[in-house]
Homo-oligomer: 356 residues x 2
Amino acid sequence: VQSARQAQRLCILAEGAFEPESAKTGTGVIRYGHRAVVAVIDSEHAGQDITSIIGAGGGIPIVPDINAAFEYQPDALLIGIAPRGGRLPEEWRWQLRAAIAHGLAIINGLHVLLRDDPELVALARQHDVELWDVRVPSPDEAVATWAAHRPGSHTILFVGSDCSVGKMTAALELDRAAGDRGWSSAFVATGQTGIIIAGGGVPLDRVIGDFMPGAVERQVLAATASHDWVWVEGQGALGHPAYSPVTLALVHGARPDTMILVHKADRRFIRGYDLPVPPLPELIRMYEAAASWTAPARVSAVALNTFGSDEAEAHRLIGAARAATGLPADDPVRFGPERILDAVAAAVRTSGAVPQ
Amino acid sequence: VQSARQAQRLCILAEGAFEPESAKTGTGVIRYGHRAVVAVIDSEHAGQDITSIIGAGGGIPIVPDINAAFEYQPDALLIGIAPRGGRLPEEWRWQLRAAIAHGLAIINGLHVLLRDDPELVALARQHDVELWDVRVPSPDEAVATWAAHRPGSHTILFVGSDCSVGKMTAALELDRAAGDRGWSSAFVATGQTGIIIAGGGVPLDRVIGDFMPGAVERQVLAATASHDWVWVEGQGALGHPAYSPVTLALVHGARPDTMILVHKADRRFIRGYDLPVPPLPELIRMYEAAASWTAPARVSAVALNTFGSDEAEAHRLIGAARAATGLPADDPVRFGPERILDAVAAAVRTSGAVPQ
């Protein structure tokens, strides 16, 4: 069987949509994935320089269709964009059929499940390839046990001011920086893009309410058993009218030793709602209060997403975040994650845990 | 078709388990349901006086099996106990088969679903009766819209110190008392017992995390559109390591105008966890903080469950709760819901909403 989880040479299907905003999953996999991306499929951008589009991925060709991708010898096709409503566009079907017939596994992060598609299931069986529906949670659900983590391990949860502010990216940057220092480090994915990048995790937005903290706990217990620094991808925000329960499931299920607050500097309102984003000090109070209800944890740094501002403005915004919160703050993508990593290490040391 | 939701004469299957603790659903339906309970099936308690067992239900016969129940002309059989693990005990099957063959609809609150049972499904089709799996949520899920409620309506959410402290019972008592005053009052059920009693609601513990606040919102918007006083059944507790997300889904999804804190006076630790229950003033701060993240609401009364204490001790405990919180407090089951209803009405009036 051609495995999807173990595939090493991905091509990314992003037909008509390979742009930073709409190709969030593809961009994340290119930037942070451990597997090679050998081609991107998008007839509208075919032949263009990928770096000029997403600012990363130098050398990866953009090709017009799946047939053109085969020459780069992929072993899996990743559906790399999330169309409106999460459905599978009909005009893509032939490319999926061709990929399967060519022996490629399929990695699907859409809400629509390939396993419910009789034609593709039959074709995959015939060609002995795996269809991986990333958003299907593990069936063996359990309520949280509130178990303590391995002593000496450190769990860091990313919490945010809203959805789509950069929590996953910040977590991936910190995981990579910790690994670069030679620390034993792991990233715990809780959303479909993170799961595709990491090759595993929990699709928390598809888990039944009663089992959300338990699902997070299981991932974190496994990661802390084998790693010293565990960076947990956050979801939503405590002040989000629809997703706050998912966020609280992470705060209580992950039992973090410390938290990093992620905020997009120009986000004024909860996206899609007539609700203002609270000031940073208020957000910190909210998360520390929620943690204290089961196990106290402090916010130890602010990761500010300054995308869209020029560099001088970015420095000003970061300085303002430091002044408002009294905490170390930086943009870990733009200026590197080192300052935040130092802050987290110091916070963990202060709180009495064993430093690495 | 014999409808389960519209059945008017229930018999309750509680074989070997008709006791206050294990027959929580049956007891709730007998105490608060709008439908007649014509018989209880439990061979171990057959012939005994029901009032001596659960303190309610005077005149309802306890019979040894389903055949004996038929003489009281039930139109539905309610599976009235929740066995360990939620499974359907094999020794009950013949009674379910007999009930269906006799034309009774089945109301099932267990985790195991009758619709997954080919034998019972076929039998139900043959005899044209409905099998109602209460724990199956509505399939048309949606995220919360954070819509305002009808002006002049009042939404009251019951929040608690832990699971199983009396939130549903308090809500049912208040709904009944408001109705007795001639107010336009509705109870919004969020758990399987409440749903069976009310004939509808949302089984919140089976809803996917992303959709929990939306599912609550839909129920509350429907209730407030047609009723002035809407009492929302609470679930879990904000300090519960496994169920806190479900609780937050209610705090944010219900958008309450005010909250009633429910506590069992002798509950010292979160059941099943090594976590102390916070003092009442701390619980009030927790819930008011969580509400303030999206829409501020105060706790306006304490419903203290004094079950297990003698009357003098109950008065002492209620006085202590009043002193500790500065709020009206009472045991609405033991001493009636009037004081709490007055407190809620006063709170709603003070907050500027239209009094009834």
